[in-house]
Amino acid sequence: MLSLLFSPFIEFAFMRRALAGAYVLSLGAAPIGVFLMLRRMSLVGDAMAHAILPGAAIGYLLAGLSLGFMTAGGLAAGMIVALLAGLVTRFTVMREDAALASFYLISLALGVVLISIKGSNIDLLHVLFGTVLSLDNPTLILLAATTSISLLVLAVIFRPLVLESVDPIFMTTQGKSGATAHLTFLALVVINLVAGFHALGTLLAVGLMMLPAFAARFWAHSLGGMIASATLIGFIASTIGILASYHLNTPTGPTIILAAGLIYIASILIGAQNGLLMRLNKRSAP
């Protein structure tokens, strides 16, 4: 029984790499996801993840499945869309959710068309759903570097970001640090999604960011507790997903996200904070 859990990782280097990659991604993305959720920006993450696709596709057109080109393209496209979405809501009558939804639909269609111009359907699948089982050294280093930068920068903007989330008007009276924290935070969303895209693809990168955060809400009530729980849930989902995909012969990226989804559903039911079971217990107790 135990060998089912450990032998795939002992036997195969690509399994160990997949696990390391997924852990590193969870570490960086979980806190970002918690802030997106608490700031009611869950859809922003989704829209940006899709926005990365055409950028990565242009990188692909220029240089094939190249780590550098596709990363640079994805970063550029993500930042541009973050900026455009901000401008559209500021200067037009469109609401932010409509603006983001339109960007993400256009980006997805454009990205798929661009890749299909040159590549095969297999390349397209790689870009959309990731290649977590074939992470090479440069990719792993990129993921680790992104997570390190993300955690450091988040530590720097933590206080103004929290205060800006609670009372944005108050922070505006306190100078520019609130606005700076907000923009920096959007940049962190983009770099984490670009890193996630190498392992999980543009469609699912956001899954490892948001689902653990949603689940964490049912296990912790403090901000620190939520971030810690989300990270841990990311680890657990990665482990279960990678193992399950090995034994059941299913695609790894989607299986990881599915595991995260199952943990989320389980958390709704049995979570210690406001899980359905706890609420029923409370009601029947007195």
Binding site: V156, V162, P168, T173, Q174, S177, H221, S222
Partner: protein, 240 residues
């Protein structure tokens, strides 16, 4: 930009609004240093917009606001209650500590003196037992008290408040009113938008009434008797 002497806030030909659409126009007058002024008028008249402009959150569309100091610590602004995200997991203590943002910034932890300031402010508003609670678990009145504690900690010479007594219990209104009168005694300049005219007449020496066509400035007791159109210059005395 120049600054006024003696802490007066001076409006000249001021028009306020959003995106160049004026909500309220031709405001000229002084909020004299140490005055306690109520801002009254129907909903949508532009009270909030005026307060936000005075707080420096909106640029004037026309004319100017001259404040005693350009320093950010000079004006404390209490937004309307609804502007706060009560679901965000932050403790009452941390919310109040935000009042020290100008002095401790993004990185430093509050030192012993700062912590004492925060504790004392919490004690003043009667929230000491709730310090480590999340703000989502507070009642409406308790949250407003916490926001007043943040104002205490900010310790600004000018305090602007947008509907500070809306949707809170009478016990809390009494506590907060005492605080405001205490600040007035200390010589701070206070402007608050309010709905309760009875309260205004009893406690606020000065009133600015924003109407559909005109704005009336002056001592609260005169305002009922004769209302006049805002002239080129209206001086608000420093009241009592």
């Amino acid at each position: 930009m120049t600054t006024t002497e003696g802490g007066t806030i001076r409006l000249s030909g001021l028009a306020v609004g959003y995106r160049r659409v004026p909500v309220l126009q031709e405001l000229t007058g002084d909020f004299v240093s140490g005055s306690l002024t109520a801002l009254i008028g129907p909903n949508g008249a532009g009270k909030s917009t005026l307060l936000m402009t005075l707080a420096g959150l909106l640029p004037p569309i026309e004319g100017s606001v001259i404040t005693p100091s350009k320093d950010r610590g000079h004006i404390a602004y209490l937004p309307q209650y609804a502007a706060i995200d009560r679901d965000f997991p932050i403790t009452v203590f941390d919310l109040v500590a935000a009042g020290l943002f100008q002095s401790i910034g993004s990185f430093r932890a509050p030192d012993v003196v700062a912590k004492q300031q925060i504790q004392k402010a919490l004690e003043t508003v009667g929230l000491t037992p709730n310090a480590q609670m999340l703000i989502g678990h507070l009642s409406g009145g308790q949250l407003q008290r916490a926001l007043f504690a943040r104002l205490i900690v900010q310790d600004a010479p000018t305090i602007l408040m947008d509907e500070p007594f809306t949707a809170i219990d009478t016990a809390t209104v009494d506590i907060l009113l005492d605080l405001i009168l205490g600040w007035h005694k200390q010589g701070r300049t206070i402007i608050a938008s309010l709905h309760d005219l009875d309260l205004v007449q009893r406690y606020f020496p000065q009133t600015v009434r924003i109407g559909k066509t005109s704005t009336d400035w002056g001592p609260t007791q005169n305002l009922q008797a004769h209302t006049h159109r805002a002239g080129p210059k209206n001086h608000l005395g420093d009241g009592m």
